[in-house]
């Protein structure tokens, strides 16, 4: 038989484990997913707001310059007013720090006034600028934004040209130092380390919190161009990419429409997903703790379930092997403990029942079955050693030794079997105690261990029935050619009764003169004769016909004893080939019995 030892344990363990861990993992995963989504939406919004705000401010910066420039092209050019225009220009420089220089151009496209913070001012008719793209652009669209260029290979500049409402007002062209946008961009902080930057259409950097990147005259524009195209591809939502410094960032772009620049708001991935990472970490920790807790709990629960079951299984196995004193200790305060208690009760009862059946079996060896049951079910102390008045009956086949010498073993055993059966049946019928068979001899006890009324009567009737039964058998045996007789001796008196023996070999025995006497009487008895001692005779005189056969010397007795014989109701079958002399011819098989009985008698004396 295969023993799936661990399957229950595993089942319990896995079930409990899954029951705890599955909801936990599911819950944490769901929470993490929602947290991630919210974080992502939030990040998008944050970057959008910052980029939009930067774009708006940059637009406000350029629009502000445009509006201020518009102020110097409100009046038409009149001769002799160059100086007034010059003052206007100077005041505009004072007003707008980003303007480094500006040219005022008359309707014909001739530069009339040039004022600058660095270079020397010029007044009066100057160069013809009618073909200048700034002039052409401003004439066409009123406002013209030039491309970004780097002055002295370093500082980003752009030109803005504004035309007046009327062509007569002329055009103003201003050189703008874009370094001043830095103030706008540097002020934008996204989280702790996020920032905004501005690139033009070809990816050249216009503004960055680290101004030194801007001052490199467009070096590294390939990087920024890549960043711009990656981020612009996904308009309006944040993109994870590599930032200008090679670190992973989340970036979002917004276009500043009027100048055609792109504002990119970016935040390092590290920081952008800080909260979600923290949330994930928390979830993982929770799951880990959950798993440890769940496995501990599941292990404990499974052990609590599996341990008692193993104990029970083990117990059943031991009981099965006959170890009935095995007990189970389970203290789970639940059905399992109940089961263990029941198991222990069962084992106890089983042991008691087995013990009882063993005793009954043993009792049945020398007691009639009903007597054995009676003994078993009544007082257990019946078998204890005690002194009491008993009737001892001895029977003995005559001529058995001669028979055994001639007969086949089968025949001998067949004869003995029939003989035992007959004697046994009679003993049972009279509810007497069959002490033992010994070859052709038999010893029966009345009034022990079960007491009865009038033991002498019962004993004498038993003896008579036994003699009759054996005699009827003897008649059949003689028909088969076996000449066997049967003699009985009966005596009554006090004897010590009780169980004697060693280990499992226990016998119920009577010790005393009465046993001795009955045996001697049996020895004296002729075939078909029942010899009775004076005590029994005294008790049964009135109902059984007894006749005295005179005083006989009995071994172990100092004086001769009067012996009585039951008056025969039938004549013994005289078929033995030789005269029967019980006094001289003793059956060999009975010799050992006699020896023990003699010893017993000596002890008793």
């Amino acid at each position: 038989m295969t023993r799936p030892r661990r399957s229950l344990f595993l089942k319990y363990f896995v079930t409990l484990f899954v029951a705890v861990v599955a909801p936990l993992v599911l819950g944490s995963a769901t929470e993490a997913w929602f947290a991630f989504r919210d974080n992502r939406i939030d990040l998008d919004e944050r970057l959008q707001v910052e980029a939009r705000s930067a774009a708006d401010r940059i637009q406000a910066f350029t629009d502000g310059i445009r509006d201020q420039l518009g102020w110097v092209v409100q009046f038409p050019w009149n001769e002799g007013e160059d100086d007034r225009h010059r003052i206007d220009g100077l005041r505009l420089l004072q007003q707008v720090p980003a303007i480094v220089s500006l040219s005022l151009i008359d309707p014909n496209g001739t530069e009339r006034v040039f004022v600058s913070r660095v270079s020397m001012n010029r007044t009066g008719r100057g160069a013809d600028m009618s073909e200048d793209p700034a002039v052409v652009g401003a004439r066409a669209n009123r406002v013209w934004y030039g491309p970004v260029h780097y002055q002295r290979d370093s500082e980003p500049y752009m030109r803005i040209a504004v035309a007046g409402n009327r062509a007569a007002a002329g055009i103003v062209v201003a050189d703008i130092n874009l370094k001043l946008i830095w103030d706008i961009i540097a002020a934008i902080k996204i989280g702790d380390t996020g920032h905004a930057l501005v690139v033009d259409d070809s990816g050249r950097l216009i503004a960055h919190p680290d101004i030194s990147l801007v001052l490199r005259s467009g070096a590294g524009s390939a990087d920024f161009n890549r960043l711009k195209s990656v981020v612009s591809a996904d308009e309006g939502s944040a993109v994870s990419t590599t930032g200008e410094d090679g670190k992973p960032v989340v970036a979002l772009s917004v276009r500043a429409a009027n100048v055609g620049w792109t504002v990119i708001a970016e935040q390092p991935v590290q920081e952008a997903f800080e909260s979600i990472r923290a949330a994930l970490w928390r979830s993982l920790m929770l799951i880990a703790i959950g798993i440890i807790f769940a496995s501990g709990l599941a292990y404990w629960r499974a052990c609590r379930m599996w341990g008692p079951i193993r104990q029970l299984e083990d117990g059943v196995e031991r009981i099965g092997m006959g170890q009935l004193d095995h007990r189970i200790t389970i203290q789970s305060r639940d059905e399992l403990e109940q089961l263990a208690i029941r198991f222990n009760q069962m084992a106890e009862e089983l042991a008691a029942s087995q013990h009882k059946s063993e005793r009954i079996n043993r009792l049945k060896q020398f007691l009639a079955p009903q007597v054995a049951e009676l003994v078993e079910h009544s007082d257990q102390r019946l078998l204890d050693g005690q002194r009491r008045e008993v009737v001892a009956i001895f029977g003995d086949l005559r001529g058995f030794t001669a028979f055994t010498a001639r007969a086949q073993p089968d025949a001998i055993l067949a004869v003995l079997r029939q003989y035992y059966e007959a004697v046994g049946a009679v003993t049972s019928r009279h509810e007497a105690t069959l002490i033992r068979f010994d070859g052709d001899g038999v010893m029966v006890l009345v009034n022990a261990p079960v007491t009865c009324e009038d033991p002498a009567h019962r004993g004498i009737r038993l003896a008579i029935d036994m003699q009759a039964a054996v005699q009827s058998l003897a008649s059949t045996w003689s028909a088969d050619g076996c000449a066997l007789g049967f003699g009985v001796g009966i005596a009554m008196g006090p004897a010590t009764v009780g169980t004697l023996g060693y280990h499992g070999r226990l016998d119920y025995t009577a010790i005393g003169n009465v046993v001795n006497l009955a045996s001697r009487l049996c020895g004296l008895a002729d075939d078909g004769q029942i010899l009775v001692d004076p005590v029994v005779t005294e008790h049964v005189n009135d109902s059984i016909a007894l006749t005295s056969i005179g005083e006989r010397p009995i071994k172990g007795y100092d004086h001769d004893l009067e012996v009585f014989a039951v008056v025969r109701m039938y004549a013994p079958i005289r078929h033995l080939g030789h005269p029967f002399h019980p006094a001289h011819v003793r059956p060999v098989a009975a010799a050992r019995v006699r020896t023990t009985l003699e010893l017993a008698a000596t002890d008793a004396g």
Partner: protein, 310 residues
């Protein structure tokens, strides 16, 4: 810009050695600006930064020895102010920060302003361009200006270019410039006597460490000789000069400290663009104008002034 606290985080146990080289004696107004900048970046002198000052008064050649020492010793950074930069051109082992009036590309210190490409970077004041502007401003305030005395420290690098630009502008505006050069502090008095004897209509002083240190003396001299004066930096006006036009010195040196910080953190000077001032200040000292009896209200100068000292 990085936050100041990060400077400590860089390496709290390390003490950075910075050489400060100048051809002028203390008190050194530029050094104060630089120190202020370092403090703002979280550096504390004696704790995580050690400034070693090397002055070679009026003698840039003397600094060459310092340059040799610089190459041998474990110096993290050298900062050279003005003419001292000349002595440093041969140094290639240590990052050098400079603050120049002239053009560092022309001096061969950097490959371009945008990408210096070597161990030099710093700041240029574009004095060359502003030289003409200063003459122009004087002419605007005093349309009758005919003769202009130009006081210049000949030891200053790029001084000749500045003089040429000034001369050109003056001639364009119909002014006769009178060039009064001097070499070193001991020649200053003689130069001033020359200016006083020249009967000029106004005085233009080139911005330079030497004239900066002696700005009060020069300003007082100008007032005593009833000379309207024009200078390069606002500090001259604070000392009594009438006008000044140029970048803010202190701000520039303060800003130079941020470059020092970035270099100490491991950035290469080659990648740090040479900084140019964005804002130019026009300072007018009305008190001096009153002393000289000049009515400035007539010109456009007052509304253009960034600061008026009253």
């Amino acid at each position: 810009m990085a936050c100041p606290a990060a400077a400590f985080a860089q390496d709290s146990t390390r003490v950075y050695r910075i050489f400060w080289l100048s051809t002028q004696a203390q008190p050194d107004p530029f050094l104060d600006g630089f120190r202020e900048g370092l403090r703002a970046r979280g550096y504390i002198e004696g704790k995580n930064v050690a400034l070693e000052l090397h002055y070679a008064i009026g003698n840039p050649q003397a600094l060459r020895e310092v340059a040799t020492e610089l190459r041998r010793g474990k110096v993290d950074l050298a900062v050279s102010s003005g003419p001292a930069t000349r002595a440093m051109t041969a140094v290639a082992e240590v990052p050098v920060l400079f603050a120049l009036s002239g053009d560092p590309v022309e001096l061969g210190l950097v490959q371009s302003l945008g990408q210096p490409g070597g161990n030099f970077t710093g700041s240029t004041f574009l004095s060359l361009e502003l030289a003409g502007k200063r003459v122009e401003l004087l002419k605007e305030v005093f349309p009758n200006l005919r003769k202009l005395a130009v006081l210049s420290n000949a030891n200053h690098p790029g001084e000749q270019s500045e003089w040429r630009a000034t001369k050109e502008a003056a001639e364009k505006l119909g002014i006769a410039p009178l060039y009064v050069p001097f070499a070193g502090a001991n020649e200053l008095d003689g130069a001033l006597t020359l200016v006083g004897d020249a009967h000029a209509d106004a005085l233009l002083v080139f911005p330079d460490v030497l004239t900066m240190v002696h700005r009060s003396k020069i300003a007082d001299f100008a007032i005593a000789h009833r000379l309207p004066s024009m200078f390069g930096w606002s500090e001259y006006c604070d000392a009594g000069g009438l006008l000044s036009y140029g970048a803010n010195q202190r701000a520039t040196y303060f800003w130079l400290a941020t470059y020092a910080d970035r270099i100490l953190r491991g950035e290469k000077p080659a990648n740090l663009p040479v900084f140019q001032p964005t804002r130019f200040e026009l300072i007018v000292n009305l008190r001096t104008a009153e002393q000289l009896g000049i009515d400035l209200d007539k010109s456009s100068i007052l509304f253009r002034a960034n600061r008026v000292i009253e």
